[in-house]
Symmetry: D3
Subunit: 289 residues, 6 copies
């Protein structure tokens, strides 16, 4: 996931517009025109940095120069300078908050995602960590890209991507078997099909009917283990991927990993992210016209 | 802060569009057309609900009917039904996630804001709680409105609103006195002027030069107390409002309130909100054509 | 694939705006205001009708009433009335051409798609017919939906959907095996991976490395048959879907179907469609104010 | 017809956005960042090329360099290299399909338009060939410009341009004479007025009432000849332009030209164009960072 | 010129959005929700009213009801109630200023246009009054429609409409004859061609070369008379329309009309309009919930 | 008030698009491609120039070079060259009218604002001159910035800015005291509160209740003087700013200034501006390719 610079610019500029209204009155009345300044983006706490590419595109799109010291995905300590900005002082101050809001949110998401992955890897498991569609409205691209930079799986990006049959669909469709069959018949051959189940019986039924992925929703680690065992007994395990979701937190994630699903997905990664503390500091006035 | 329905619709529909891509393939292949369903929005944890108005506008803008049980700002318990939705089943499922993402985020922000306010009020203080410009990009309206619903102060809404002179402005402008004078001269008579200071000497200097609000940035509660005392001695206290900001958390907020500033502002309210757990459940198929 | 009414309206209205400029001067100067008319959409040649849903949304979005006689996907004869329109005469005439341009193009695509499918089915084959990304710019939704209504497979909808490694990718990536491995490692578990090959050796290599779909590009029917045989010998055939593409026309499509690939895809369906001849006729002036 | 580069960019970028979704996953996972490549746009069949200017604007708007070998309107043979592209390999691959879809469609339209014109010229006639409003929705600019490049007349561009009174207008307006008079009275002096007729009597009536252009709709070549004769007899021929339309194809166009109207217009030029076969080939990896 | 309601709504709503920012704080804090009010649009000076249709579309697009007492184009006295508005009091107050800004500007333009026309008619001349392209940026539709309502000629609406060769074109093109010939050869048969000249010699030259309209630019009434006489002598007068422009005001317009051109055009009508004084008054609180 | 270049470009380009339609047919048919020209923007009457910054941004956004001789706010004589433009001749001619429409309107507003200010200053008063919300729809930024350049006060920029309680609010709110109290309680501490009154009694009442600004609406100079006297007597004058509005013109403004309010605001500055006469002249053809 990465859009070319020229396609991302408009969205980034719309963020600045939202903040700026008819103009940054403070900057216009206290900072003279014609001043060239140097500023630094500084991480004030440790974490995995994301949003560097977006920051660079935003800055260049308003004619500021950038010098990167840190790449997206780097694990850094508090005090690290992420990038340097050179250009018109007024413009730097006008975009400062928007810029930081993007990088702080993305870095917060990447850091949390990465922490979960490291915890699972350290315990010797290979389960992947995935995000869900619980992103901030309008920020799908940024939230999903931050997950990817943190090492996570983006999961589906649109409702026209993967077919994922959930409880509300089943309440109306009735039978899980029919729902899967209908989906198989309607869907393009280019799509995978996933179904959400809450019992091991349904997991077996779904696997037999023919899906690519089974999501075990809101099951305990023990229920997950038993379900996987049943699938192995019936030689269905290797035909599908198993995703588990619901009620999983940083505290209990290893219990779920121990059940050996293929993927663990958590809504909180993008729905309740803690922003990383990042600041912009003017460090030098380079030129006054 | 509240935009008329017709002005908010487009933004809300753009959120659905971001999620839906070329169509919700799952719903189209498992839910027949012509089904009318009833669904409920259910709070799965307690908190202050926000986003009800936005949810209603979103739902009505795609021709679904709503029945509200809870108003914005209500403090509710887990298990409370917030609203009922009646209409085309496919449409309900297509907008479900976007709808929940809005209400969960806004309710999370309102709940956290309200918790801080209650804490201050319970301790007998009258200090206001305010948000900052650390909102999610593109979500200014939603984040600020959630703060307001939670009982907080929205602070400025655009950079063309209040004049707020911060450290980076001063680094370039040089003297705090000159910066204030320039701002006073340039700004419309309709604007207030605020300046951020880090020493009590600067607080006094700013108040004498003539500002409406002084922000004491990153001071300890003791430093704040001393600064306020100095201002009182010089008979400047009553001429200005005092805002404190920086390093304030749910844990230490009462220490700051005890110093008796007029306003305490916290970036975390909107920058690191925890979404409230809210779900949408189809409860009845009303009609099948 | 089907977007809810309210999400499609804006795009449809932008089509009218492109045509109308500052107003339909002819209608305004010859048709009095306040006239209510009835009009019919009439198929002037036989074919599979598509775009009825879009026509209805367009008409209702400008406050005209519609009565449908024909559903999307129906096979009709020349002279069939597809729908009736009732409402303000000026509005009917202002949107007439835009409306017809949509329905004619979509019906043309659906008809051609369906003709190919029927030809294959009549010959007793089960091969699917798919479209490609050779759609008219800006009309992806309409072109792909028309293919679907005609019975075809829409293939991928965005570049963020299926991973499809083509010749230009391989020219830069170098080895086909590495390209597939890199894709497998980077891609979300929700995506399928397809690779385009031009030799049976590469088809075998790709299948062994692990892809979901192999596209045999620009091969003759004989080469396709031999490739499939090799894959069967190596027990790889059942693990993958086989798509063939390149140089396939209405004339030679049965030769390709006889080679028994899973999917035949043709760019011409959407790149060179013949519009169906459809007209709008005012049939009655219902009311003059 | 030609919009300045900066006004066309947005529309061209919206076409790429439609195709790309959240990113070109294939390219991102198989083509390393930092690769500079050279590619060629190659005509795989002969025809009149159109869309070169649009291709160049599109490519430059995403920071790729172009070198043109062929100009819009050139008649070329299969195998001709139209332009060379130099720049970031990922970007080239991300825009490839959108680029080709534009150039192929425009070149197809220009080629067909030009073929008709050459046929008429070769037979010694001077009749112009014009397109109609049967363009692809959203592609008015591209379709009309392709017609112009092929040597055809674009006809009116918006409904606020020429006044063109057609059958549906007359059904409501009643009398052809009144309709023309109303139009003449309402229309700006900057507009021409055209009326569509189906009988020679109406052609005479319209010419007498005072129009600039008469369209003979769905008449046979003989009926057209007779109508023109009548107009000549009444000394009306020189006061108007005569356009013929309806049922005209490549096969029968000379019969119509022989009747000596001023303009022959055909909807099929833009409504049912055959795309020219054009491809993009990466020919060299210039640099790997 | 009149766009259908649904196409005008978006533009009108964008005007409200520009004014409203994140919400009408005054109304929200002083007017309770749930109040239904009746308001009147009142003309506080006499003139020709324009913008009624736009006002109605704006009001209905935010769910307010309207009752019209006056139609576009009516000549009214000070004190006349133009329309009554019924609906949500908050919404009425939020859109009040935007609404008045539109109606006041359009009525001002219509009134001034009409005054000029009446002056010419009273003096017994038949010369038309036309506007130019000196409209307020973004308000082309509104300015031109107001001219039309006032009885004036809208002149061309876009640069793709009439061909109008002006002095700057001629400075580069060189010869006026060549410029006209090139335009005639390039332009669609659906377009008229006009050329701006400053001498009677050029007027004759242009008319001989073949144009539809000659604009006599910045000539005195006497020069215009002489030029027209020369054209009559050469039997060219009846073949063209004559437009005069430059330096014409309300004071001297009859001198120009006396020279008997076909059209007099004035930039000031739309470039320097005086807004009509129109107000909105809440006249009754109908309901409080 | 001043938006960064990159944020203003889109709006400026939308103005060109409105005018240009599908292309500037005159320029394309009379001016050859590849011509580089030099042009001048020339003031044809004296005044205060505004819009230079916007003109420069517009021109650079379509790749034309500019050389400024005059800055925004300069008082110039007729005949002054404001800027020189160098670049593609076709592009210069395509944007000419839009460019002039912006600069002429802004300069007209700045000139009129400045004339009023100079009049007040010459008479020895210090009263400020302010604009109102009577701006042209869609042109808020341009109209307000022109006022500022002319030396005037922009007043509030959005409805989410200053709280300004007017007559229609009071008709529904009932008591002026309650309205102010409600506003005070609801509004952010960052906002000022203003109330419009028509009697001196209300002016006193409002000042006592606690507002920042009192607007004396439609009072005579004498009534204003008396009201100010009453406020002074009650020691309220120094706590508030006094704005007067309604019925003030260039003729009577000194009578109002003599009453010594803080601010005089006039709707006519932006609602009925006279455009300054400014032209663009091609002065040299620099290069023909």
């Amino acid at each position: 996931m990465a859009l070319p610079k020229r396609l991302l610019e408009e969205k980034l500029k719309s963020f600045i517009e939202e903040d700026i209204g008819q103009g940054d009155l403070t900057t216009l009345s206290t900072v003279p025109s014609g001043v060239t300044a140097k500023a630094q983006i500084l991480a004030k706490e440790s974490g995995v940095i994301a949003g560097v590419e977006e920051a660079q595109i935003l800055l260049e799109s308003v004619d500021l120069k950038t010098k990167l010291f840190i790449k997206d995905g780097a694990k850094i300590k508090a005090g690290t300078v992420i990038m340097e900005i050179l250009g018109d002082a007024r413009t730097i101050l006008m975009v400062e908050r928007t810029l930081l809001n993007i990088v702080s949110r993305m870095s917060g998401i990447a850091s949390e995602t990465n922490k979960l992955i490291k915890k699972i890897e350290s315990a010797g498991y290979t389960t992947k960590v995935a995000s869900t569609r619980k992103t901030a409205p309008g920020l799908l691209y940024f939230d999903k890209k931050a997950v990817m930079i943190g090492g996570g799986d983006t999961h589906r990006l649109h409702l026209d991507d993967l077919i994922l049959i959930k409880d509300n669909h089943l309440k109306i469709a009735g039978s899980i078997v029919n729902a899967i069959k209908n989906a198989r018949q309607t869907a393009s051959f280019t799509k995978k099909i996933e179904v959400e189940v809450t019992t091991s019986a349904d997991a077996v039924k779904a696997s037999k009917t023919g899906v690519d992925i089974v999501m075990l929703d809101n099951m305990t680690p023990n229920q997950i283990k038993e379900t996987i065992k049943k699938l192995e007994v019936q030689k269905l395990r290797s035909k599908i991927l198993i995703e588990v979701s619901g009620g999983i937190t940083e505290e209990n994630i290893l219990d779920y990993a121990a059940a050996k699903p293929d993927i663990i997905s958590l809504g909180a990664i993008t729905a309740s992210p803690r922003s990383l503390d990042i600041s912009l500091d003017v460090v030098e006035v380079v030129l006054r016209k």
